[in-house]
Symmetry: C2
């Protein structure tokens, strides 16, 4: 070890999900949207091309155009909206801003795998109450003293959503800490906690452009909450990197928000494909949890998930497999286009034969 | 104070530099480049518009296309280059990764004002040896025990650059900690520390697209160093936000690096304008420090800086004024186009009359 290496921050190196690039592959492993972003986004690109000279200037660090579009869309004030470089950036800033207690923050044992990574890198104590035997969150687990709560709703990788009453119950039991509800997948059929913002000043709702708005490549996420929470997040954000949202993300993100009809149409298509796919998988011997997301969490009755995962990979079809306790027999399958799902089913029919 | 607010991270809210937007203003306050980015960047935008569908996919988290272009340009290996969302992001990750000692990190009392902000937000002890009476760094101040060193070269807001031998002397005296050389302004006539990378495994050189490459709006910065340093930074970065560089920044950043001729031409124009402007300011009663950056640091012999700053503002001309000890009589003036500088000089001639 070199002398200076003793001062390096110790982290468990996190490996992001695989981003394979093969011609003719079927990519159902990172919950991207199979449809392109709104045609208005393509038009906005053209506008950017004509104004490339603007790139020489720093972007608006308040991101007002995008914050304005989002607050209009959700019926909030501008000071209730925070934007960041994907919801990972938003969540990371939330962890850093809100979770500075000696008491542990709480989130389920099976949930978005980045939560423990942030807790570790920022030295935040945490505990992970176990989901019940049906992979449901037990609300009573969140009734005790804590330094903060993080609930993904719908949860990932389980795809299960809890109702608004359930979320409100958890928020109501936690008046001394910030409750973060991560709604990355909410647009695919779950209830958002947004209506609770009027009643609870300690609730932060986080969403993203990466799934329902088909813009994972643009890296745009946002949080909505009481102005006191948003201000605290901006104070921390401005102390790390004031100008995070680049010029194209501001312009294209705004264009996407303004096309509500296209957005809803894409979400409905995905929901329809999901329900059909769930039925087909059922006939093939899979049990899928009930999904409110753009993915299915599926276990086969007799063939191990790892075996199916590997066999699909060999056929150029990528799904997600987690080699972790309790879920090692499940596959997380992104809902693609109908054509992509048909290719998946054909491959599965060969593999399971 | 609300119950949950006691767990908020305490930060000194940092206020980013003013971004005024007036028709016909002269903006010389944030060291942006007065020239647009390379025409190849505008062309690349058009390409992006035709491929807007790609935005639905996550970007390459390794940013290989951009890392490849930069490593080719500087004659390095890919594993010697780290990219981030502006050099602020890169420096912030470096602070978080390398500076975890109980000993203080060292940087000058007058330098880029974000260094203390990061040290505070990440709870890193720090000391700030004073620049000498000519605003030069005293190398001996950096010969003692420390948890890390950060030197901006050229320094900001002084505009003064030290030579390669000076920087090497500091690196040579610090074999137990990481030495970060922040070269945001290096392309305007200073010597880069890059040739030292072969000899020193604890040296990190940070640069940006925001100044010499006319792309502040794209938020692209990078660090170059030994693969061990770059790996450690990526480990930390992947633990915070794996996908930081969005699709346009990867494509447009690469296009910019590939147009060396345009880049050099812009830098030369700015250097030429700077030297002429320094002479004119001298005739108007200013003393300007010798600049190797795209800005001048100027004090007038009889009129207080704050008064000039305010009077310029009233005329729609924005320069930077720091109300801080030792430099409260200086203005930091970005070198714009010749036309912008002429408007500045005309306004100054009125103000100083």
């Amino acid at each position: 070890m070199k002398a200076w290496e003793k001062n390096f921050r110790k982290v468990e190196p996190y490996t992001p999900g695989e981003q394979p690039v093969f011609a003719d592959m079927v990519k159902l492993n990172t919950n991207e949207n199979p449809y392109p972003p709104s045609p208005k986004v393509a038009q906005a690109f053209a506008l950017l091309g004509n104004q490339a000279g603007k790139c020489r200037l720093y972007p608006d660090f308040k991101a007002e155009v995008l914050v304005g579009a989002l607050s209009d869309y959700y019926g909030l004030e501008k000071n209730q909206v925070f934007v960041g470089v994907g919801s990972d950036d938003v969540l990371s800033v939330a962890f850093l801003t809100f979770f500075n207690s000696d008491k542990p923050i709480l989130f389920p044992d099976i949930t978005y795998s980045f939560y423990d990574v942030w807790a570790q890198v920022y030295a935040i104590p945490y505990e992970r109450p176990a989901l019940d035997e049906n992979f449901r969150i037990r609300r009573e687990d969140y009734y005790r003293e804590n330094g903060g709560i993080v609930i993904a709703n719908p949860n990932a990788p389980t795809s299960i959503a809890e109702g608004l009453e359930f979320i409100e119950d958890i928020v109501r039991h936690n008046t001394e800490s910030v409750v973060v509800v991560d709604e990355a997948y909410v647009d695919f059929g779950a209830q958002s906690a947004l209506p609770l913002l009027e009643k609870y000043e300690n609730l932060l709702v986080v969403q993203t452009f990466s799934k329902s708005r088909s813009m994972a490549g643009m890296r745009i996420g946002y949080a909505m909450g009481h102005p006191g929470l948003i201000q605290a997040m901006n104070d921390v954000k401005y102390s790390i990197n004031s100008y995070t949202m680049n010029y194209p993300s501001l312009v294209l993100g705004t264009a996407a928000v303004e096309d509500e009809a296209y957005f809803k149409e894409c979400c409905e298509k995905i929901i329809k494909t999901r329900e059909w796919a769930r039925e087909v998988l059922g006939r093939m011997g899979f049990s899928c949890l009930e999904s409110s997301a753009n993915f299915l969490f599926a276990a086969h009755g007799s063939v191990p998930a790892k075996k199916i995962f590997t066999a699909l990979r060999e056929r150029g079809i990528f799904v997600r497999y987690f080699d972790k306790p309790r879920i090692e027999n499940y596959l997380r399958i992104t809902v693609g286009t109908r054509e992509q799902m048909e290719r998946l089913f054909y491959a599965l029919s060969e593999i399971l034969r």
